[in-house]
Amino acid sequence: MTRTLEYIWITLVTLTLFAYLIGYLKYISTTLVAILLITTFVKGQLVIDYFMDLKEVRLKYRLIPTVWLFTVITLISVAYYLPV
């Protein structure tokens, strides 16, 4: 029996713990923010593919939340990195 779901859960928890530990730093560098945003995208995509089970659905329905997630995270990055 495959344990895919368990591995996904462990990955999600580990990435969340990573984000939490970053939050403890007094100064968060722009590189760390980039890593944090990338891991957020990875977490979201894992939920979309394995929890929502869209991996087994026609590509267009899988792409809707993926494109949404990508756009939101990209625009958050733009807001963070663009000079005022």
Binding site: W9, M52, D53, A79
Partner: protein, 199 residues
């Protein structure tokens, strides 16, 4: 030469109507997330200073709770989807067990959130305190209402599994509720680093 074909499902799991609702929620929350991100850009110092008043530990625990509850919901869906005529009772019982765990997670999330809100309001922080708290309260209260609705939906499904109401090839109802719950989880996965961590 043998070629393995993977046949994809034509539609997402559950009733398609829930997906329309999910897409609308995506747009609504995207606007709030971006409203927060671009407002922060204009006053980084205020946002960073105000963020110190919120508990990152509560945010982390709540993220852990939602991710775990989503896992439980997937297990419940699998129990129903893999059901046979012979295993109908057993599968319903198994699904009800997983759903109960998920509902308990929903309750735990709610208790932590209510504690956080009462602490914050007790400190005299409200919507008009500053822009950070306006977005913080709007985003987290709005999301919290979705958790309450999601928990209620899971409870309805739980009651049906308790009465062994799901039959083989009848997983649409549980998949519909599960899709909504995963959306609630997905939204929090973005909300947590955005509001609690990034500075």
């Amino acid at each position: 030469m043998s070629k393995q074909l993977s046949i994809k499902e034509p539609y997402p799991p559950g009733d398609f109507a829930i997906w329309i609702i999910i897409y609308v929620e995506f747009i609504t929350f995207a606007l709030l997330f971006l409203g927060y991100a671009f407002s922060r850009r204009l006053d980084v110092e205020l946002f960073n200073a105000s963020q110190l008043a919120v508990s990152q530990t509560s945010g982390f625990i709540n993220t852990f709770i939602l991710i775990t509850s989503s896992y439980f919901v997937v297990k419940a869906v699998h129990s129903i989807k893999n059901m046979t005529v012979e295993s109908q009772k057993k599968s319903n019982i198994e699904a009800s067990k997983w759903l109960l765990f998920a509902i308990m997670c929903g309750i735990a999330f709610s208790v932590i959130k209510v504690t956080e809100f009462s602490h914050m309001f007790g400190m005299g922080i409200h919507l008009s305190t500053n822009k950070y708290f306006m977005f913080y309260i709007m985003l987290t209260v709005f999301h919290f209402l979705h958790v309450l609705l999601g928990s209620f939906i899971l409870f309805i499904i739980y009651k049906k599994t308790k009465s062994h109401g799901y039959l083989p090839n009848d997983s649409k109802g549980i998949e519909t509720g599960a899709s909504y719950w995963h959306m609630v989880d997905l939204l929090w996965i973005i909300l947590f680093p955005l509001v609690y961590i990034i500075r």
